[in-house]
């Protein structure tokens, strides 16, 4: 009961921090800096939602988010980029050029997003099929391997992704609608719309009987199997769903920065920081996942302008690691934590522990 009376300092602190950083960014970089921050935080929130499906709800340990990030971004980029131009010394062989072929109402954009998700889902199917029957942490090592393999593939197969030069003619979604200097505002709306759709979808799916099986697997695999659930199949579906969401995140990233190369997807900014976001925000809680993305990305970008060693990227790197360890040790639920209840219809009995 004590937890209910005590004010939730962690949530208050996090919100204050976000508001403070938002104000700071606004004063420092103007509205542009703030929009830029919100776009990236929104894209990261898509990844934390995907990771929440993996870790927060099913207990799947994926440390190769960078692999799905890169696959999603490259899939969207290759589908929509115009064919290679010999005058620009481009080495890749295939450019889908969807932006021209499906130009009507810019329908190519949702197609690219879904295709990016589908490719990631396929890779997840392959990896999950091999590893999810085995010990839990085999998945972690396999995802680590796939992230490195994807990076090597796009780096070395220049016919596929233009090698280290990367792809830099990725089209703008609804680029004709507004002037280039105001485009960021439009894209922010796009990111928020996608994020809200994904949030609602994941919430519905998790509150369904299907989602409750996932949580049951996370808590106790043997009991779940004993009550007649095919644990492997549920884990595989959850892994594919999370990877699908991550693929969409990668595609959103590609069409925001409109440049992808293999070095974009380094473990720090494409895997570790997403883990820090989910752990801090509260794994098992979709609102927490989104909040974590905004808080950690706020800290990450906000501290760039701090004086001295505080703005040293290596120092911030250490902080990302300590944040993960600290949250697990001190506040395993993160800022928001998971609402522990069996179902949305059943209120917890009065006096029961929350």
């Amino acid at each position: 009961m004590r937890a209910k009376i005590r004010p939730d300092w962690a949530s208050i602190g996090a919100l204050t921090l976000v508001l403070g950083l938002a104000l700071y960014l606004f004063l420092h970089g103007g509205a542009g800096g703030l929009t830029d921050y919100a776009i990236f935080a929104g894209i990261y929130a898509v990844f934390t939602l995907g990771l929440n499906v993996h870790w927060g709800f099913t207990g799947l340990f994926n440390i190769g988010i960078a692999g799905f990030f890169a696959l999603g971004a490259y899939t969207a980029a290759l589908l929509t980029t115009p064919p290679p131009d010999p005058l620009m010394f481009e080495d890749f062989k295939f450019g889908g050029d969807l932006a021209v072929r499906l130009g009507h109402l810019d329908l190519w954009f949702p197609v690219a997003l879904l295709a990016a998700g589908a490719i990631c889902g396929l890779v997840a199917l392959f990896l999950g099929f091999i590893t999810l029957r085995l010990r839990e942490d085999y998945l972690a090592i396999a995802t680590l391997g796939i992230a490195e393999s994807v990076r090597l593939l796009f780096l070395n197969e220049r016919w596929l992704g233009n090698g280290s030069k990367g792809l830099y003619r990725i089209p703008k979604f609804l680029g004709d609608l507004v002037s280039p200097e105001n485009y960021d505002y439009l894209y922010l709306v796009v990111v928020v719309v996608v994020l809200v759709i994904l949030y609602i979808a994941v919430e519905r799916v998790i509150k369904s009987p299907w989602g409750r099986v996932l949580k049951a697997i996370r808590e106790d695999e043997v009991t779940t199997a004993a009550s007649g659930k095919n644990v492997f199949s549920f884990k595989l579906q959850s892994f594919i769903l999370g990877a699908f969401i991550m693929g969409i995140g990668g595609a959103l990233y590609a069409h925001n920065v409109r440049f992808v190369d293999p070095s974009t997807f380094d473990p720090l900014l494409a895997t570790f920081i997403i883990w820090a976001m989910l752990m801090l925000g509260g794994s098992g809680n979709n609102m927490g996942a989104i909040l974590g993305a905004f808080v950690v990305w706020g800290i990450w970008t906000g501290t760039q302008h701090l004086p001295g060693f505080l703005s040293d990227p290596n120092f911030r790197f250490v902080m990302v690691g300590l944040l993960i360890v600290g949250v697990i040790l001190l506040r395993p639920g993160g800022i928001l934590g998971e609402r522990r209840r069996v179902s949305g219809q059943i209120e917890p009995p009065r006096g029961a522990a929350p």
Partner: protein, 334 residues
């Protein structure tokens, strides 16, 4: 001796196993006739270094039951502490005997092993022990070790920067071995030190009380505890051995590739885990065999595949292992 070894390996001398072993030897001989000998030798030395990391990793995996993701960064720390000692503390020296490095390395190495062991034990007390007492899922502990790995690597970058470094060295001529194999003299040191450490570990695990307790704990923690083994002490010894071997592996890797950089340990994590899984989790002899196989396979692959894909070879071997024999070469059903 042979009996002891076959006893440690969970492999019976059945007709089927003998036939399988014979086929394996034939396959190896057939490959050796096609493959460039130089690549095999390179692979064996790389495999020896991997083995030092993989043996520690498999012991931690077997006894503490979680995937220790910071193991590669223990290696990085070993390499960098020696770099610091050679550059700023110990007298400058190069070209000891036939080697490129100086006698200072022989002083720096034991100091570094102690430093990394201390780090491991402090981390266990501060972090992992608390989580064990809370009885959290081992995947959460693995997750925590990912955080530790990130922080450790970040610290290396804060202290020494993100660039490539070198130990003080004096260039020496390569040794010419038969069959057109050339090896740098430093590799003799790598081979000898690995051999000594592996033999010492074998003696420790089979002859001493603590070694036997470690194997018992790895087999069955609860049973070990009720038979009066102090499992917390076993855990400490596991960290000590794992960290000392990892530190050595890091130093040898820096000597092997004649350079050190902050992500060297993280990059080697996939081959390490591949070796551990191939050799069956918890089995140090399996890890040794797995590491040698992966080292040789990665080097030999460059004869047909571009060397850029060398890091992916270990991953491919791991996937094949998981598909065909998920318990590894020496695994038994429990």
């Amino acid at each position: 001796m042979l009996e002891q070894i076959t006893h440690c390996l969970p492999l019976r001398l059945t007709a089927r196993n003998v036939v399988l072993a014979g086929l394996l030897v034939l396959l190896v001989l057939a490959l050796l006739s096609v493959v460039k000998m130089e690549l095999v030798v390179n692979g064996l030395f790389l495999g020896a270094i991997l083995a030092l990391g993989a043996i520690g990793l498999t012991l931690v995996y077997g006894i503490l039951k979680f995937a220790h993701i910071a193991h590669g960064d223990f290696m990085t720390w070993g390499a960098y502490i020696v770099f610091f000692l050679l550059g700023s503390v110990l007298p400058h020296s190069t070209g000891f005997g036939p080697f490129t490095f100086g006698y200072s390395l022989f002083i720096a190495l034991p100091l570094t092993m102690m430093a990394v062991v201390a780090t491991a034990i402090i981390l266990d007390k501060a972090i992992y022990q608390r989580l064990r007492r809370r009885a959290v899922n081992t995947v959460v502990i693995a997750m925590t070790s990912l955080g530790v790995a990130i922080a450790l690597r970040g610290l290396v970058q804060v202290i020494w920067g993100g660039g490539t470094e070198q130990y003080p060295r004096l260039s020496k001529p390569f040794y010419q071995l038969p069959m057109g194999v050339k090896i740098p003299p430093d590799w003799i040191f790598i081979g000898a030190l690995t051999l000594i450490l592996v033999l010492a570990l074998y003696q420790f695990l089979t002859r001493t009380k603590m070694g036997k307790a470690m194997r018992a704990t790895s087999d069955n923690l609860e049973l070990a505890r009720v038979s009066g083994i102090n499992t917390e002490r076993v855990v400490w010894w596991t960290w000590a051995i794992g960290a000392a071997l990892a530190a050595t592996a890091g130093v040898l890797l820096a000597v092997f590739q004649a350079q050190l950089f902050p992500v060297m340990g993280w990059k080697i994590l996939i081959p390490l885990f591949a070796a551990v899984i191939l050799g069956s989790i918890g089995n140090p002899y399996g890890a040794l065999a797995g590491a040698l196989i992966i080292g040789v396979a990665a080097e030999v692959s460059t004869q047909w595949i571009t060397p850029a894909y060398k890091p992916a070879i270990a991953f491919a071997i791991m996937i094949v292992t998981l598909l065909l024999r998920p318990r590894g070469l020496f695994g038994v059903r429990d």
